[in-house]
Point group: C2
Chain length 205, copies 2
């Protein structure tokens, strides 16, 4: 559907939605017209929730996850393993790992990964604050859980070097890469399959 | 990703986005976190465009399309064929037909179609205003361009009966149904293919 909108107000709202990632102009129009059919107070609530979030959002001053309080519930919990910190790229990753129910330590949200192409260097990320929290918090292990991309590998390497340099006794691990659970070997890419052989572990029946 | 959000503000914004049609919770989170990375004034602009649209939106008092003015540019244009009105379900359909560049008449936006299942009857739609505009506007032809569904057929039938009843000389047509241009017969459903044979037209080389 090429573009003559019957109203500038409509077009502006569509432009806003179409600026979101993976929302095309046709979907944007459908979403805006859906909102237009809702009650005025519902549209105000929709818009209000966004401005309120942006105005009032806080980040945990320890792990930098989004939080409603200065220190997030995970960082202030007495039931977590406080000697282990899992380093992730963003807020979604914390939610993903929490959803597994397999990790009981703390987190550190970098807010991105090192990406020279996008102009993101170590100074743009929460790396200094990570290194600074190791000693006072008596952290024994840092788990690197960053994406398996060139940028992720670069960031892993940078973190490893700085963490072990400043804290020689620290254990630095990374999450296992391998064939997905339920995955067929036939459909696994060669690099992943190769790594799953190199990084094989003892079979425990 | 099952649900413990690190912040209630975040969760509320995600709930709002997830209430939109065909936006899941995971997409909603991605969209909200994208907005959160934007400048405060950009988030205000996003939210503002929605509330402004909802507060200030007007509908053309003749064709009921969304409009910034009391009478929309199409209805007030002197270059359109004012004897032909194309009846459509909604605003998107006007834009779709305008984009074809094949129609030069006027429109009438019903604002829906008759759907007893959804509790939408003739009184909920702009049907009376359609019938009322035929005579004063000296309209000679009404083109029915509604969806090919049971509801569309019901609405077509209802409109035909009332339009011809009140205005015996009026020509009522409907858009052609048939095999899509570029479409293979092999992949065309039987009903469409059958209708395309019944409604065959003279071959014009």
């Amino acid at each position: 559907m090429s573009g003559t909108y019957p109203s500038i107000l409509l077009e502006e709202a569509v432009n806003q939605f179409a600026s979101l990632p993976s929302v095309g102009r046709k979907s944007a129009l459908r979403l805006v017209l859906h909102l237009l059919r809702q009650k005025p107070e519902d549209v105000e609530a929709f818009a209000g929730s966004l401005t309120k979030l942006k105005r009032e959002v806080r980040y945990c001053k320890i792990c930098h996850n989004i939080s409603d309080t200065d220190v997030c519930p995970i960082c202030s919990s007495l039931n977590r393993d406080r000697q282990t910190v899992c380093v992730v790229e963003n807020v979604q990753d914390v939610m993903q790992i929490e959803a597994t129910g397999q990790f009981f330590g703390l987190y550190h949200v970098l807010g991105g990964i090192i990406s020279p192409m996008d102009g993101i260097g170590p100074k743009d990320l929460e790396i200094e604050s990570l290194i600074a929290r190791i000693e006072p918090e008596e952290i024994k292990e840092v788990i690197l859980a960053l994406p398996t991309t060139m940028e992720g590998d670069t960031t892993n390497f940078y973190l490893f070097r700085h963490l072990t340099n400043d804290h020689p006794g620290l254990r630095v691990t990374q999450i296992a890469r391998g064939v997905a659970v339920g995955g067929e070997l036939e459909y696994t890419d060669e690099v992943t399959l190769g790594r799953s052989i190199l990084n094989r572990i003892e079979f425990t029946p």
